[in-house]
């Protein structure tokens, strides 16, 4: 078992993608992120296909959000995964970890070829993310609601104890907010004025047993978070310019209140036969489906390259 030796830069890996250069135009940043998001999606498909197990739908709905964070907005250093000043990220909907693992690999926290070990014996890429296994994971998740509560604790440490300027980004599923602990932790986030906390709800409208409306209606979600003391913003979770600007606004607000960003998304986004399909919550593609998904993402990739030229 390889271990995470924090701060040992000799172990650093050249990630395929560095963060956006600060002098790029907004348009150039967005175009670049869209291309990276497409590679992220391809990684998810490859990983779950290779493992023949894992959660594609919720990984793809969060793909653009996670890309914007890791390749533009968040201040992280792959050579120093435990650097105190870094921004933190917690994927509270831990079953979507293929997208998190992909971001960490492409950013250079660990070698990209390790992605194909997902869910295998002796892999650092556990079925649900375990922080002690892999550099870059700021919390272990996989038991819904409890990733969010940990993010609140990380934000409390940053704001109230350690007094560092970092921001804590946490992504929750829309089904996940059924959990009572989400609301318990929200009360605390409000009590302690955690304006260093940005909670992003990935609203893809599907959970395991059906639509949100069928299983457990949670709308109006904006009113709920507002009533719990959050400032609430809304964005299209697949419009990269919207994602980038809304999340930047959320990070910069610092108004003495936590911020909740409602991201309207599509489960399975990017592969047409997986979009809006409940079946792709936790199913692995067969050879034919894998081929079709790859062909589509490759086509999207070529189109995005064309847009650049």
């Amino acid at each position: 078992m390889k271990t995470n030796r924090a701060g040992d830069s000799s172990l650093s890996i050249e990630g395929r993608y560095a963060p956006n250069a600060p002098d790029l135009s907004l348009n150039a940043r967005v175009e670049r992120l869209r291309r990276i998001a497409n590679v992220m999606r391809r990684n998810v498909i490859d990983m779950v296909y290779t493992a023949q197990s894992g959660h594609i739908g919720g990984s793809l709905s969060a793909a653009d959000i996670v890309t914007a964070l890791y390749f533009d907005l968040m201040n992280v250093d792959p050579a120093r995964p435990h650097w105190e000043e870094r921004d933190r990220f917690v994927l509270s909907k831990g079953h979507a970890c293929p997208i998190w693992y992909s971001a960490l690999a492409l950013r250079g926290f660990f070698p990209e070829d390790e992605l194909k070990t997902l869910r295998r014996n002796d892999s650092r890429l556990q079925g649900h993310p375990i922080a002690s296994y892999l550099p870059g994971l700021d919390a272990s998740t996989g038991s819904l609601g409890l990733g969010f509560a940990q993010a609140v604790g990380i934000a409390m440490e940053g704001k109230l104890v350690k007094k560092k300027g970092y921001t804590v980004f946490v992504v929750l599923g829309d089904g996940e907010i059924d959990e009572g602990v989400v609301w318990e932790a929200s009360l605390a986030a409000s009590k302690y004025g955690l304006d260093n906390l940005v909670a992003i709800v990935d609203i893809n409208n599907l959970q395991l047993d059906g639509t949100i409306g069928e299983v457990m209606p949670t709308e109006p979600i904006d009113d709920k978070f507002r009533a719990f003391g959050f400032d609430v913003l809304t964005m299209n979770g697949h419009d990269m310019a919207d994602v980038l600007m809304t999340l930047a606004k959320a990070r910069n607000a610092r108004a003495g209140r936590p911020v909740c960003v409602l991201a309207r998304t599509v489960k399975g986004k990017g592969v047409d036969f997986m979009e809006h399909e409940l079946d792709w919550h936790g199913k692995a593609p067969n050879d034919e489906q894998y081929g079709k998904a790859c062909a589509q993402l490759e086509k999207t990739g070529r189109e995005l390259e064309g847009a650049e030229a």
Binding site: A51, S53, G94, R119, R120, N121, D122, S123, L125, Q126, G127, H128, I130, S140, T141, G142, S143, L144, G145, G175, E176, D178, E179, G180, Q207, L208, D209, V215, M216
Partner: protein
């Protein structure tokens, strides 16, 4: 021994039986926490939507509401994964279901490392400790689909809370569909005279594989399936130990506070014989393939055989 592969997992067999029984016993309802596609409780929902309540991803609230309905005299089946039922919602089970002795039954999937590929957050490796420790709780762990269906019947017929541990993946078949099971019972699935291997659930197959391995070295192992863990069949163990004078307990669970601890204490107080316990050695599991993961953590048939052989050598 060549095991017959099962077509379905025990979680599904239990849910199928629950659905079958619903038309004759109209007195029970089913609670789910957004895992219907995984626990197969959707089979029940399709037939009896008016007796089915999906409470969303909210295990503690689900358990409290189940207790409320049970307090009104209703029989309630709560479906879910072992880790979430037995650990997240354990206090609600303890104080508001076990203490008042309410008629709540648990379909608990992903027992032990049978949820290997999902990783530690989904592997229920402490559930037997929690559930057997609760006063008034009964605990069943069927090894195959016939036993799982019987477990549902036992649970429904037994007053008070009954917990049934089930597996994520289809494993093997052991019993005929007409086989009879009862609360507190056990089955000798292989008779032998040199050592008793006590086991339950998926580990019965590893114990049988171990017995085959031991036979090659001239050791004749007796394998007992303790499908009822609480209450458990002390008379059967006593009978077996009288003959073999050596005990191995093998379980897919933490060694500490598992069935092995229960059996070992009983043996110590009643019929002391050389004893060896096999389970997780104060460690968490990890993601991987089921059989490989058992091997990695020393729970496979080969590991059981090795320890049993050493124990028999010590006896002589």
């Amino acid at each position: 021994m060549n095991f017959v592969p099962a077509k379905i997992a025990t979680r599904r067999a239990f849910a199928e039986r629950m659905t079958e029984c619903a038309s004759t016993d109209k007195d029970f309802v089913v609670f789910e926490s957004d895992l219907a596609k995984s626990t197969y409780s959707y089979l029940f929902k399709e037939k009896h939507p008016e007796r089915y309540f999906n409470m969303g991803i909210a295990e503690i609230g689900t358990m409290g509401a189940a207790a409320g309905m049970a307090a009104e005299g209703r029989k309630v089946i709560v479906c879910g994964y072992g880790v979430f039922i037995t650990m997240r919602a354990v206090e609600a089970i303890r104080s508001f279901i076990c203490y008042p002795h309410l008629n709540v039954k648990f379909l608990s999937s992903h027992g032990g490392l049978t949820a290997a590929i999902d990783g530690v957050t989904h592997q229920s490796t402490e559930d037997i400790a929690f559930m057997t420790t609760l006063p008034r709780m009964k605990v069943l762990v069927p090894a195959d689909t016939a036993a799982a269906k019987a477990a549902f019947d036992i649970a429904l017929a037994t007053p008070g809370p009954v917990f049934t541990r089930l597996t994520r993946d289809p494993l093997y078949e052991l019993y005929d569909s007409g086989e009879e099971f009862h609360l507190g019972g056990s089955k000798i699935v292989r008779a032998g005279k040199d050592v008793t291997i006590a086991s339950y659930g998926d580990m019965v197959f590893q114990a049988l594989a171990a017995a085959d391995e031991l036979a090659k070295g001239g050791i004749d192992a007796e394998v007992i399936d303790f499908y009822s863990l609480k209450p458990w069949d002390q008379a059967a163990l006593a009978q077996s130990l009288k003959k073999t004078q050596a005990l191995v307990v093998a379980e897919n669970h933490q060694k500490r506070n598992g069935f092995g601890y229960e059996a070992a204490v009983w043996v110590l107080q009643n019929t002391p014989v050389p004893t060896r316990l096999i389970g997780l050695e104060d460690t968490f599991g990890e993601s991987g393939a089921y059989q490989k993961t058992l091997e990695k953590f020393g729970l496979s048939g080969a590991a059981i055989a090795e320890k049993a052989a050493a124990l028999v050598a010590r006896k002589k």
